[in-house]
Point group: C2
Chain length 137, copies 2
DNA sequence: ATGAACCCTGTAGCAACTACAGGGTCAAGT
DNA sequence: ACTTGACCCTGTAGTTGCTACAGGGTTCAT
């Protein structure tokens, strides 16, 4: 579809209109031509680009990583090592976050398990928070 | 230790000085007495309170949850059900985040595995990002 | 011509800090 | 006495990635 207004592009990529304008402001999406009424007019290039951005964001890539991926994608006969590096960095970061949250989950569920429904004065959860963590690990 | 300056309190709780001032600004830490030279002067009450805050934050509680826990902790002969509810909510939220990240990790590592180091034009990672996700799941 | 649905810009807000800028205070060393 | 350096103060702006207005303009159907 050609000559899409921003709302159509938004629907077709499941993106909020304001997000598209935001991407334009930070230079992730291009400034496109306007209609007479000053409406942005998008074509299939932009739709593809936004689709790429959305999928990359959904996979956890940061804005700057997406920016880098997009510009690498244009240098077609270059080696893809940098692309792979970015993707692997993201994967590592995701794995790091999982590990950190799993640690957290362990400690937190240990704390939660302590509670024998009673008065606040005796609550083990508050006791656990109230003093240095010699009870944990 | 009594009559601590903010830097000492910061060191003893492994908190940044600016974070303590920030906690004061948002009402999580109290406004304490000042010295002649207008320096904040902390006692052991505040040190304990900040310790509690730090541990709760480390366990993933949000600022508003910490605020609620602190005020519940003062009503000593109340039932601790609300405390437990907050803690369990936090645990659930942590578990939700872990699950989401594990999903992400699956999809992302599937993408990363595709790459056979070559030219950008053939990079499977970019191909995966460049089109709707019919390759995944 | 009036209304609904859409579009525009620009600014402020979210969480939870972090990083200055541009000062003041205090103790130690010379 | 004076200077250096470490510390402290307030206030504001930046971070990430959007989201939510406020206060307008455009388009199109009825
Ligand atoms: Zn309890
Ligand atoms: Zn631990
Ligand atoms: Zn590749
Ligand atoms: Zn999927």
């Amino acid at each position: 579809m050609i000559g899409m207004k921003i709302g159509e592009l938004a629907r077709s990529t499941r993106t909020a209109v304001e997000t598209i304008r935001y991407y334009e402001k930070i230079g992730l999406m291009p400034q496109v031509a306007r209609t007479e009424g000053n409406y942005r007019s998008y074509g299939s290039n932009e739709a593809e680009r936004l689709g790429f951005i959305r999928r990359a964001r959904d996979l956890g890539f940061g804005i700057d990583q997406v920016r880098a991926l997009l510009s690498l994608a244009d240098e077609r006969d270059r080696d893809c090592g940098e692309v792979d590096f970015i993707a692997k960095s993201n994967l590592l970061e995701v794995e790091r976050k999982i590990a950190a949250l799993q640690n957290l989950q362990q400690e937190l569920s240990a704390v939660v398990r302590q509670c024998r429904a009673g008065k606040v004065a005796d609550c083990r959860i508050l006791k656990a928070l109230g003093r240095p963590a010699d009870w944990a690990d």
